[in-house]
Symmetry: C2
Subunit: 117 residues, 2 copies
């Protein structure tokens, strides 16, 4: 949905990004970041994310057959990833294409770096 209003997670609102091992996260930061981890906390979504991140972009029609799940279920999981700000989608003609939002992905990785303690 390229015409969709705004991502549910505003990435600019995240106080930018010392690793969680560097100093304790405050409640506000945690409230912004936790939903991203939560979105990756389901095996189906983690695989979807991995399939999307492994290529520049990928069609839903190539994602759905990789799972033993109904179309609506896969679509739901993709929406969770979208709402978490982790991926973006765009309809082009008949098909809908998904791609990673690299800044979100990088942010998450940065949080898990080893703190300099």
């Amino acid at each position: 949905m390229s015409k969709q209003a705004l991502p549910v997670v505003d990435l600019h609102a995240v106080a930018c990004c010392p690793p969680i091992a560097a100093r304790p996260l405050d409640a506000d930061q945690a409230a912004v970041v936790a939903p991203m981890f939560k979105a990756l906390g389901d095996p189906v979504r983690l695989r979807l994310m991995s399939m999307i991140a492994s290529v520049p972009e990928i069609c839903v029609c190539d994602l759905t057959p990789a799972f033993d799940l109904s179309g609506p279920t896969v679509s739901h999981h993709l929406k969770v990833l979208r709402d978490a700000g982790l991926v973006d989608s765009e309809r082009r003609g008949t098909w809908v294409w998904y791609r990673v939002r690299p800044e979100a992905f990088r942010r998450l990785g940065a949080l898990l770096e080893i703190g300099h303690s």
Copy 2:
């Protein structure tokens, strides 16, 4: 609980660790890793993890007062982190101390590195 049998997640069972952006995760790998992300997908647990990771070790008695939650609720969240293999605990006299399992933490970080695609 130092005397507790084994961590619920056997870290050695994780096929070790190309970033999820390098190639699609298979279902077995996803089933092992997703619970770790899921454990971090709650704001309370993310803050707990961050507090634990920021120091060599920390007493439950220092974790609980940081939240507006009952003791049992904090204890429950700590158990989720333990079961996910992310932290370890040990009773020493009156108090129970928690510390990060660095290998699990590093593994998670490695998964989120940018793939060489």
